[in-house]
Symmetry: C2
Subunit: 268 residues, 2 copies
């Protein structure tokens, strides 16, 4: 195989297994070549990836070492994506009876949530989270794509209590906007104690759900390193129960009477 | 930029935007080179990708044309992955009170569901589905990754009825195993009528949920082209309400008394 072809195949394999440590010997065997050759190839791949803006290679030296592909998205591209998303979400036909904003189609579109996961990963990687936690249902795709970009698992907190998942911890919380008492639960098996946790959710208004998840995390001795949400309600709207979070978009205005809604992209 | 570097950057960009048609002019501008050069590069990338087993390039000729990366997983790797998963799921400590099998950790681990999505996509791509439909909650990650691999959106059917998603269609269905009457609903906005639908779910026992989704799909004039599930209950266990589906794994045996469970990988 020619060097150029080998570089492409190397890139394709690394990129399809993000965040996974692959030993040099694995590639040496696959391409029937010397480890030193693979080592040189990886230098070229790293340099070329820098130009593509799509990720970087992390090299771990030593016998147990290898190379790991860390997926990235460029800041400029991320900003353009959020601007486009804000515009799309500002469309009048997204306003639902009750003043809600329809965004499920966007949350379940992989072509949208994949890059959103990369954006979240870029923001929170330095906090070194070990698990991404979200609340069912609409937070799941965002949490999963963020977890994929970070190379860590996701954990889903559920409404109520599920008999099919074994013993679980349940807490009651007050939903910030509706002021109703609700229950959320997490299976014991789902989360080891003492983990560094990143909470990801689709929307934050008063913050009741987020506060509930935080209380639940205490039961698992988890340290919540940060909270990332796709969209926050208008800043001067409702007093929030929590104040430390990172929102990508802001629902600045929504009026069911005039059918006008304004979604803005926050600074990255 | 040297040719080899350009090839790596090209591969990285194509792979990070799977199933998206990217015009040759986009790359020509990005690399400040002629379209004819990009065209030659793509021939090399295509050949090298064939060696990597990670995907293929589809070229669409003409003015509105371009190139599209279709992600793939090799049959041998897929089989190994399913064997490994079957072994892991056969562990005695996964048996829960009531004879359920704990598998939520696997369903929410991107490193597992990403390749599972590729496997499903490989099986169902020729049926040309336009949307992946699943039932909340545990089906979502599998459905999302399958949708991502196919380059189509996902749609999530919900238990009960959600006021925050606008007008919806609800149906009652009989859960096949518990024989309880339950409700599932889907927002009108979520699915245009007349689509080709692939149903993806985590588990099938009697098939009540699957049959419910199929009835719901009739309300949207959708054509269900296939049903893919991660795991089926033992074949001679319960008579099934539906018989056409594709399961990757089989729960051959689960005995809460002896704490023994046997999960087998089905032939691909």
């Amino acid at each position: 195989m020619k060097k150029a072809e080998r570089l492409v195949a190397l890139t394709a394999i690394l990129q399809s297994r993000p965040n996974e440590l692959l030993p040099l010997g694995f590639f040496a065997e696959l391409f029937a070549t010397a480890k030193s050759t693979i080592s040189e190839d990886l230098v070229s791949v790293k340099e070329a990836l820098r130009h593509s803006g799509r990720g970087t290679l992390e090299t771990v030296p030593g016998a147990a070492g290898g190379v790991r592909f860390i997926p990235l998205i460029e800041k400029k591209e991320a900003e353009q994506l959020l601007e486009k998303l804000a515009e799309e979400l500002s469309s009048p036909d997204r306003i639902l009876p009750g003043g809600f904003l329809y965004m499920a189609d966007i949350l379940y579109d992989p072509a949208v949530v994949r890059p959103l996961g990369l954006i979240f990963a870029g923001i929170f990687r330095e906090k070194e989270p070990e698990v991404v936690v979200t609340m069912e249902t609409k937070g799941i795709p965002l949490a999963l794509m963020t977890a994929d970009a970070l190379g860590i698992p996701a954990v889903v907190v559920r409404h109520g209590n599920k008999v099919t998942e074994g013993s679980s911890v349940s807490i009651n919380y007050v939903s910030g906007s509706s002021r109703r008492i609700q229950t959320m639960s997490l299976t014991r098996k789902a989360l080891e104690t003492g983990k560094r946790v990143l909470i990801i959710d689709d929307f934050i208004k008063a913050g009741g759900t987020a506060k509930g998840i935080m209380s639940l995390m205490e039961e698992f001795d988890a340290e919540v390193v940060c909270l990332g949400v796709l969209m926050e309600g208008a800043v001067d709207d409702t007093p929030r129960l929590i104040d430390k979070y990172h929102a990508l978009l802001q629902l600045a205005e929504v009026d069911p009477l005039t059918e006008k809604s304004v979604v803005k992209a926050n600074k990255l």
